[in-house]
């Protein structure tokens, strides 16, 4: 009896150890279209790596950020691969929360990454996250409305040019509004646009001593311009419009000009969802008297938390999901227009992609024009284009965004909004130890 029990025990131990060879990676990711597509294509990864099993945790951006931050800060080790934005990469890399990606294999070809993206996910020349898709911001406008109004938008427009065109395109009797811009409060919503806009007017968030700059003429000029333009040529209730709402407005033909993330181009030109698919023209992000196109740059990237025990398998996965072969896999299954854009030079040199995506060239130009290491005309102590890459920015950015959204709604004057933005940012930065 005893020997039989022992035998059984030994057998189960053996069985267990053979199980242990199959590693399970837990991947935390945002739920946007490209990421969901990746999840569907995992069969290809499983075929190439039969000894690695994948578990997906797909979440909404804000929930994901909160959950992943807790885990990585406490070295909880629940996740082996996580999707993070360009905002987190430099902050987390400096904290030692991310593993440097040095084992991505020979096929990865780091030199193929777009320089702006490479700079955004590297710290001291080392790659800390691998870009999955990237975006900048640009002008999208209705070519038919522009023609009707008798205006021309140049390839590198100024804000005055945009304002003039927007006012002429507006026809409130047919619910056609010249310009749609983000107004919903949030560091990733209206503040992304307004920070880029302030950059293009020569403004900056902080001077070299971390003093907030909302009391300077550049911010006043940018915000006044934004509020006045939106009042005259924007849709009603603009202070609650984010990316999604503006996309719906543009797709249904209610906007003349929309200035937002380049990734929107593939949605507005998709005839399945958009009524204006064949009437969209593009231009670079406008400038306001200085040579600065806003420096908007964002990418979703795959990073490996320092707490993982499966670093090798995790790198294998990251490499599969972000190398050139993955682009071809998506193209073969879903067509070239659906491949994740904005990370690699080779994609933009591909004639098939250019044919499928008429916005490819302008997207590339916009991304190349963005410089997140020197985002403003005047010197700054921070990096980041449409955001400031410090941990406190989520809170400060959203609070300031609420003031500016109120100014747009008309419940606050522009001067008032700037004053309270200045006061609250000074307070938070003093608390954070930046202002001595």
């Amino acid at each position: 009896m005893l020997s039989r029990t022992l035998l059984l025990g030994a057998a189960s131990v053996l069985a267990m150890s053979s199980f242990a060879h199959a590693e399970t990676l837990t991947i935390a990711t945002v739920n946007n279209g490209d990421m969901v597509r990746m999840q569907k294509l995992t069969d290809d990864f499983a075929k190439k790596n039969p000894d690695i099993k994948l578990e997906w945790v797909t979440l909404e951006e804000n929930v994901l950020r909160q959950r992943v931050t807790t885990d990585i800060a406490t070295k909880g080790g629940q996740y082996d691969v996580m999707t993070i934005g360009t905002y987190e990469v430099p902050i987390w890399a400096k904290q030692g929360w991310l593993l440097p990606l040095d084992g991505l294999g020979a096929d990865y070809d780091k030199a193929d990454l777009l320089p702006a993206i490479d700079a955004a996910v590297s710290v001291d020349g080392k790659l800390y996250a691998s870009p999955f898709y990237g975006e900048s911001a640009m002008v999208m406008y209705r070519t038919d409305l522009a023609e009707k109004a008798g205006v021309k938008i140049s390839e590198k427009p100024t804000w005055d040019e945009i304002a003039d065109a927007a006012k002429k395109m507006t026809d409130k009797s047919t619910e056609t509004y010249g310009i749609c811009l983000r107004g919903k409060a949030g560091w990733g919503e209206n503040m992304a646009l307004l920070t880029a806009m302030s950059n293009s007017f020569g403004g900056r968030w902080f001077d070299e001593k971390w003093q907030p700059q909302f009391d300077q003429p550049e911010w006043k000029k940018a915000l006044t311009f934004y509020v006045d333009l939106m009042k005259e040529a924007g849709p009603p209730g603009a202070s609650s419009n984010g990316f999604n709402e503006n996309l719906a407005l543009f797709q249904t033909g209610k906007c003349g000009i929309w200035i937002d993330a380049t990734v929107a181009a593939s949605f507005v030109t998709n005839p399945k969802d958009s009524k204006v698919a064949d009437k969209v023209g593009y231009a670079l992000f406008p400038t306001g008297g200085v040579e600065n196109h806003g420096n908007w740059l964002w990418a979703w990237n795959l990073g490996i938390p320092a707490g993982t025990k499966k670093a090798e398998a995790a790198q294998k996965f990251v490499s599969w999901a972000t190398d050139k072969a993955y682009t071809e896999l998506v193209a073969s299954k879903e067509g070239w227009a659906n491949v994740p854009p904005g990370t690699r030079k080779s994609l933009y040199a591909n004639p098939e992609y250019e044919k499928a995506a008429p916005f490819a060239k302008i997207t590339l130009d916009a991304m190349n024009a963005a410089n997140t290491t020197k985002p403003t005309v005047k010197p700054v102590p921070y990096t980041g284009g449409q955001f400031v890459a410090i941990p406190e920015f989520q809170g400060i950015g959203t609070a300031v965004g609420q003031q500016f959204s109120a100014a747009l709604a008309g419940s606050m004057k522009v001067d008032q909004a700037l004053q309270s933005a200045q006061a609250l940012t000074t307070r938070e930065m003093t608390k954070g130890g930046y202002i001595k």
Binding site: Q39, E61, V63, R67, T70, D71, Q78
Partner: protein
């Protein structure tokens, strides 16, 4: 004359009741309808109410993308488990406070309630570290423990108010007849308090079912309940209203159906009293 006034009144109240009911129910109805639309019709202006091409595409898509049954099982285990353990702890506690109060009973009750006043995020990191060290992260056991503790004050408070309504003399009478403490609680108190206990239980299952802070932060892939399932479909930039509606409908369906069946119990419990 008097009769017609009453009828008129009845009619007015009925209409008013239905109107308010429909108003409150409308978002759920709208979610349900949207789940059968295509993404295009979901955001169409003017909104389409009933006459659109009904489709099951969203439900297929949601089924393909996530493991619904796993999330439902987790939700059921977590909400029912935490409520049952909570009741087992709270019934004796509420009995003691209702029938043998001391000088400090009120303070104890207030102290229990005060734990609910702390924002949960304040204890997230310490709790996360404890969970990490005890290997409880992403386990149902861990979530049951947390939700039990979080809802315990509410369970105790609710039971305490129900027990308070039962005259102590009835229990005394049982004692006179020689019932032991155990018998007194099981055979006398509990049957009389069944409506109260039932509604406490139902309310807590609903609370635990909907709890979205701890269930999201302490789980990853294995123990994630329906809250995590929903969170994978909403998005600040999301374009998928129809899919989100399908996921929402699937997430609230079990608890909604349970609520319908136990409506009578709930209402009776909320208006419960020994003398009524």
């Amino acid at each position: 004359m008097a009769r017609s006034v009453t009828t008129q009144r009845k009619l007015t109240f009925t209409i008013l009741g239905w109107a308010i009911g429909l108003l409150i129910f409308f978002p759920i109805l709208w979610t349900f309808l949207t789940s059968f639309k295509t993404e295009g019709t979901a955001v169409a202006t003017p909104p389409q109410f009933l006459f659109f091409d009904w489709t099951l595409e969203n439900y297929h898509e949601v089924q393909n993308r996530s493991d619904y049954m796993k999330h439902v099982t987790n939700s059921v285990v977590i909400s029912v488990g935490s409520t049952l353990i909570g009741l087992a702890l709270a019934i004796p506690a509420a009995w003691a406070m209702a029938f043998s109060p001391t000088k400090r009973t009120k303070d104890v009750l207030m102290w229990m309630l005060s734990t609910k006043m702390m924002p949960p995020v304040g204890v997230l990191v310490p709790l996360y570290l404890i969970f990490r060290d005890w290997g409880l992260l992403d386990t149902r056991l861990g979530l049951v423990a947390v939700l039990t503790m979080i809802n315990l004050p509410i369970i105790v408070w609710m039971l305490y108010t129900y027990f308070k309504e039962i005259p102590g003399e009835i229990l005394e009478a049982a004692r006179m007849d020689g019932a032991s403490l155990m018998k007194e609680i099981v055979y006398v108190l509990t049957p009389m308090a069944v409506p109260g206990i039932a509604s406490t239980m139902l309310l807590n299952i609903i609370l635990a079912w909907n709890e979205a802070f701890w269930t999201l932060n302490l789980t990853a892939a294995n123990a994630a309940p329906l809250t995590a399932f929903i969170a994978s479909y909403s998005s600040p930039e999301g374009l998928f209203w129809a899919k989100l509606s399908a996921a929402s409908t699937m997430a609230i369906a079990p608890i909604l159906i349970m609520g319908w069946f136990s409506q009578k119990q709930l209402v009776r419990g909320l208006t419960f009293g020994a003398v009524k």
